[in-house]
């Protein structure tokens, strides 16, 4: 396990060394990894770091407000409202990798503009060790690994947490007083709710995924999962108030893990599962059915796409 205090000193020194007197930007996602990378870089660079948060419309409920609050100590924080641009670009796209590409490209466009405006020479990224492994192994692409440097001519890329595992990043977050990021925010994928909507991303499906994820996070909290969320799979038949409904099937997933490399589907109490089911079908008239995913990783992955 990493020695958090020593790591913070080393990482801060490394960032100062690499960036020197220049400016840097970082993309904040709201997750632990980029939050820690941003806090380290801010420690090294102060307001010469411009943290950019892009609201893609694929964020969790309340996420954008939480970001503004958590990082209010950074005067240079920029929040970009890009919801419509992302959702329009995703229209008609069904292939999982293509979805990731569309989001990655959209993200690059938003970020390119902000980086130029901030006159940034360096890019800071919250890439962690498993991101690099999964990208190298072609299991799936992580949009924080590639893309942007091809478009913007940065002098260098700084990845201060590149050798850490998720549990180690969390240790560092605690030592940086980012307790709320660690305790309130579970891992959240780069492409956001788009990978929790199987197939085409529509505004309707994203709304269902967002509402259902919120219910699952609330209802599973006391069972302390490593990650818990809901995904919209497809449509099936239901009956609500004597009317036939052809509505969404929502899959609930709650897993235990140390580092995300392997995961165990959590043995949630029936009562908890039923409350989740009742709230999701009750609060969303277009949901016909809720299922619980009992598959471990392997053979499944944690997220759906």
């Amino acid at each position: 396990m990493v020695d958090a205090d020593a790591f913070i000193e080393e990482a801060t020194a490394e960032i100062s060394d690499e960036v020197g007197d220049a400016n840097a930007v970082i993309a904040l996602s709201g997750g632990v990894d980029s939050s820690v990378a941003a806090a380290l870089a801010y420690r090294a660079l102060g307001d010469r770091l411009t943290p950019v948060y892009v609201d893609t419309g694929l964020m969790r409920k309340g996420e954008t407000d939480a970001i503004r609050e958590t990082f209010s100590f950074m005067d240079s924080l920029r929040v970009v409202e890009a919801q419509d641009r992302f959702l329009d670009a995703l229209s008609g796209v069904t292939d999982p990798e293509e979805k990731r590409n569309v989001i990655g490209e959209g993200f690059i466009r938003e970020f390119e503009r902000e980086a130029k405006e901030a006159d940034a020479d360096y890019l800071v990224q919250g890439t962690i060790y498993p991101d690099r492994i999964e990208s190298e192994g072609n299991i799936k692409s992580h949009h924080n690994v590639g893309g942007l440097p091809d478009v913007v001519d940065f002098e260098g890329i700084v990845e201060p947490v590149r050798d850490l595992y998720k549990d180690e990043v969390r240790e560092v977050a605690r030592a940086l007083d980012l307790e709320e990021v660690v305790s309130e925010r579970m891992p959240f994928p780069g492409p956001g709710l788009a990978v929790r909507v199987v197939g085409e991303v529509t505004r309707e499906k994203v709304e269902v995924a967002r509402a259902a994820c919120h219910v699952v996070e609330e209802e599973t909290e006391e069972h302390d999962p490593w990650q818990a969320f809901a995904a919209v799979l497809g449509k099936a038949t239901g009956v609500k108030g004597d009317n036939r409904v052809h509505g969404w099937v929502v899959s609930v997933r709650s897993v235990e893990s140390r580092d995300g490399m392997t995961a165990r589907a959590q043995e949630l109490p029936w009562k908890t599962l039923q409350r989740i089911q009742s709230r999701i079908t009750g609060e969303n008239e277009n949901v016909a059915r809720v299922v619980y995913d009992v598959t471990h990783k392997p053979p499944a992955t944690i997220e759906y796409e």
Binding site: G137, S257, M261, T262
Partner: protein, 184 residues
């Protein structure tokens, strides 16, 4: 006694870096090397052969078996040892994924004997060893796989089908510690 240096050979496995982490946590000097590293460039008191996607991508593993240091093969690493030394590897009837309860069949085995009578492991494989090579014997089995572990203590060659490096394997760290002992 000085700590041994144990090198992990990367067969493009998803968990290779966790093997490095487990060895680091066991307090030994470790490094992860690509599986096309020339054998002459490897300075090690022991080798871990990682898992990976395919027997077609095991690189120079055959040459590493001649380095005369203890070897621990994990998943594909175990299957590579079996195939290269004259055993048989075939597709299993039933893939082993996630939880597998393993029974230790040799309590005196230096690698897995300490786990007797059995242990809960985490696995991810479709193929399995059907016949162990000459000099080896089976040291663990399970309901889904007849060769969960095999050993040739005379040549200090060992293998496990499960993944001792992942956190969901109970007592996985103990396997690495046993292997460190073997390398001392």
């Amino acid at each position: 006694m000085s700590e041994p240096r144990i090198v992990v050979i990367d067969n493009h496995g998803q968990f290779t870096h966790l093997e490095g982490r487990a060895l680091r946590d066991a307090g030994v000097d470790t490094e992860i090397l690509d599986n096309d590293t020339p054998p002459g460039d490897i300075d090690a008191d022991g080798l871990v052969l990682s898992g990976g996607p395919s027997m077609d991508r095991i690189g120079r593993t055959e040459e590493y078996l001649d380095l005369d240091v203890p070897v621990l093969g994990i998943c594909l690493g175990l299957q590579a040892i079996a195939e290269l030394l004259g055993g048989t590897v075939e597709s299993g009837d039933y893939g082993g994924y996630a939880d597998v309860d393993v029974t230790i069949t040799d309590d005196d085995d230096p690698l897995v004997g300490s786990l007797a009578p059995g242990t809960r492991t985490w696995a991810s494989h479709a193929d399995e060893v059907k016949a162990v090579p000459d000099g080896f014997h089976v040291t663990a089995d399970s309901d889904v796989c007849g060769v969960e572990a095999m050993s040739d203590p005379d040549r200090d060659l060992y293998g496990v089908q499960w993944h001792p490096e992942v956190s969901h394997t109970e007592r996985g760290q103990e396997v690495f510690e046993n292997f460190v002992e073997i390398c001392r």
